[in-house]
Each structure stands twice: as structure tokens, then as C-alpha cells.
Assembly symmetry: C2
DNA sequence: AAGATGATCTTGACAGCGTTCAGATGAATT
DNA sequence: AATTCATCTGAACGCTGTCAAGATCATCTT
């Protein structure tokens, strides 16, 4: 499940001197630790341990702990994009439902992987320009939201500023709900609304940015 | 500026064996380090160093590094409440302007103290119930937003669920803008809108939760 | 085919971290 | 004046991120 190229690696024994695809193994080990134990439990030495290499080995693939975490975040953005696209395909052609489904998928992704989502946020902040995974490919999460905003009539495709603003506004709304929606103190309210899915839908509805016009 | 009770403490010399008010001094030192160098640069030993005590001294006032950071976060919520109340007083009695001013004040507080705001978020998450500083006093930030939601007609005071939902929705919107609005990649858009204040106002407007009905 | 090159991995080390514990200090109580 | 007890120190533990020097081995050159 973790490796593809060499079929006989259990991360601790019978491993050849050279790993084969250590870079990918490190990223996946880090992702696993973050998802399992949280971001605070992620140490570079621990990642190396889980991958079955020495504490210094990662430095031949990443210049920094930061750079490894950046790679994990980038992987997260790819996953997020895939989840959103899958949800788009699932709901089909109805524009109004599609845009809401995108917002729900975004929020649920954060709910299911809170620590990973947090790391992704850390990665995307303070970048020189929009990070590649946010605008280069049409399949990126950013492009998905952007297109949805135009389709849903929340921005005029003629005005680049308008489109950017609509996309950013929607992203901010989703981010706020994604990060705060999981607070334990909201549990009673979720029950009163008949489940957390309704809770998230209601919040998205009230922010308005994920409704068609 | 850092101490009030003992007038002769410079944190390294001429200090009596017992500090006097080390607890407060530690909180303020930690706050200063976070605001100055960011959350990642905050170490318990560094805080003790800045306060002029041994690395073990803080453990007589906080059981944990976590507990110290919690105290810093609580202080931050008090400051936030004060800022918002000051802004309410400033704009006077117009309801429509008041609720917008609250949102703007919240977002600007986060812009001016991003690391502190992030710490506050960490403090408020995963609490058993709403933390005291968020609901006990009428002067708390939570109570301010809550009252504003009722005044602005965004929730019926008869329905507790409605009020809570409106407050949480507004809080989520503000949180999203507060955390993402400072991204460096939005700088061009801010300029195109004629300043970041307009940028924040526009985003708040689009989320709708800080507009009167 | 043999040797050289360079990427990959290990060993060992360094400073700094959070935390604990035994002991020093001194303010407050008796 | 003696005792008590909260406060602070000094030293230590295992952990961390990071680096430099050397071992290993795949690949390229001749």
C-alpha cells in the first residue's frame, strides 16, 4: 500500500542499501503520521524511522523538515482536487447543486483530515504567487472553485477582478467553516439540526458564497 | 511596560530570588515573543530566558508549555473583545454600520497579530464547552457578535438555535477572511481594489453575515 | 570490462528543546 | 525564633533538527 516499485520492502529489514523511492516513501510516511497522530507528533526522525532509514537520510531528498511538509501539503491539495472533481461528477449537471456539493466536499475533506488540512493551509500561506497546485492545472482545487463561481453566476467572466473576488470569498467561507466546524462545542447544535451534514449545509447557505444566483 | 507591581525588574539583574509576579511576566514575555518572532519561535526556555528566570521556573506557574500558551490565548481574546467594543463605541448607534465595523475590527485584529490570532484559534478549538472568555461575560467577543447578530436582524431572538447559527456563521466567515486575507498572493488584488481595507470590506460584504437585514 | 563519478545512505556529533527532580531560598505563619 | 511552604535554581534525561565525514552502490565513461 505504501510502495509500488520495489515489492519487498517492509521498511525495516531486507532493505538494500539504496531504498529505491525514498522520497515518495518519506512523503507517505509523513502523511500517515500526520493523519494518525496529528501535526504535533510529526518529527523528521520519526518519519525516517517509519521509513526504515537513518535520521539523516531525508536530507538527501529534502533540504528541510519544512520542505518535506510542503510536499505533504501539495499531495493534500491534489487529493482535495480529486475529491471535489469526484463530487462534481457524482451530482451531475445541475449547476445549483454542483456548487453546493463542491463546498460540502471541501468542508468534509477538512473534517476527515483536520491535521492534513491544517498543514495544507500552512503551505498555501505566504507564497510569492498563487502556488502551482492552486492555479496551474484546470484540475486544481482553485480552478474548480473558480469555474464553479462563473457557472453559478456569482461572477462575471468578463471581469477578472470580479472572478477572483468571488473565488476568494468562497474559499474564505469554506476555510472558516472547515476549520471551525469541527469544534467540539458545536456538537449540541449539530444534533439539534439533525446531523452535522445539515449543520455544514446550513452554514454554507448562510455565507451564501456557495449558492447559485 | 512589561511589569507593574515591582518597579525595578529588568529581567536579568538585581532581581530578588522570588520574582514577585512571574506568572504575569511569563505570559507577557510569551506574548511578546509570539508577536515579534512568530509561534514557531516560541520556546518555554526562551520565555524563561526573556523573563530572566531558570528554565524550570515556569513549571511552578504552568503545568505545561500548553498551559502557558492557553493563558496567552485567553489574554488575546480579552484584547480582541476590547478592540471590538472600542470600535462599536466609535461608530456610534447606527446598527448597519456597527455590525460591519465589528467584522472589520475582527479581521484587522487578526491581520495585525497573525501569530497571536492563530494561537487563539488553537486555544478555542476542541474545548469541552464554549470557553469562558467566549460566552461568560457580556463583554466577551462571542457575546458582542451574538448581540450584533440579533440587533442587525440576522437572527430571531426567540430561537436560540437561530441565534447560535447566525453567530457561528458570522464567526466562521470572519475567521476565514482573517486567516486567508493576509496571504501574500492577494496583494495585487488588494491594490486593484484601492487598499486592503476595501478588500476586507468587499469580502465581508460577499459573505453577507456582517450585513444588516 | 574496468575504473571513475556521483547519488544515496549511515554513523556520530552538536546545540537546543520540554520536562523532571533534588535541593536552595526566603516570605509567611506559628 | 522556628517552621512551613511556595518559589526558584542546577543538573540531568531523552528527544529533536541539522550537519559533516565516511560507506555503499548504481551508472556512466573509456
Amino acid at each position: 500500500m505504501t510502495d509500488t516499485l520495489p515489492p519487498d520492502i517492509d521498511a525495516t529489514e531486507n532493505r538494500p542499501y539504496h531504498h529505491g523511492d525514498l522520497r515518495r516513501a518519506l512523503i507517505e510516511a509523513a502523511r500517515a503520521i500526520i493523519v494518525r497522530d496529528g501535526a504535533q507528533a510529526l518529527s523528521l526522525r520519526g518519519v525516517a524511522r517509519e521509513a526504515g532509514v537513518s535520521p539523516a537520510a531525508p536530507y538527501h531528498h529534502f533540504k528541510d523538515k519544512q520542505e518535506l511538509m510542503l510536499a505533504v501539503g501539495k499531495l493534500g491539495f491534489e487529493e482535495l482536487g480529486e475529491v471535489m472533481e469526484a463530487e462534481i461528477r457524482r451530482v451531475g449537471g445541475a449547476v445549483a447543486e454542483r456548487i453546493t456539493a463542491i463546498g460540502v466536499a471541501y468542508v468534509l475533506f477538512a473534517r476527515d483530515n483536520p491535521a492534513l488540512y491544517r498543514l495544507m493551509y500552512d503551505c498555501s500561506r505566504n507564497m510569492e504567487a498563487l502556488p502551482p497546485e492552486m492555479h496551474e492545472k484546470d484540475h486544481s482545487a482553485y480552478a474548480i472553485v473558480r469555474n464553479a463561481m462563473i457557472e453559478a453566476g456569482r461572477a462575471s467572466p468578463d471581469s477578472e477582478i470580479d472572478v477572483e473576488l468571488a473565488t476568494i470569498a468562497a474559499w474564505c467561507s469554506a476555510h472558516g467553516i472547515a476549520e471551525m466546524g469541527g469544534f467540539a462545542q458545536f456538537a449540541p447544535l449539530k444534533e439539534a439540526l439533525g446531523g452535522e451534514l445539515n449543520f455544514y449545509r446550513e452554514l454554507l447557505k448562510r455565507t451564501g458564497n456557495f449558492q447559485a444566483r
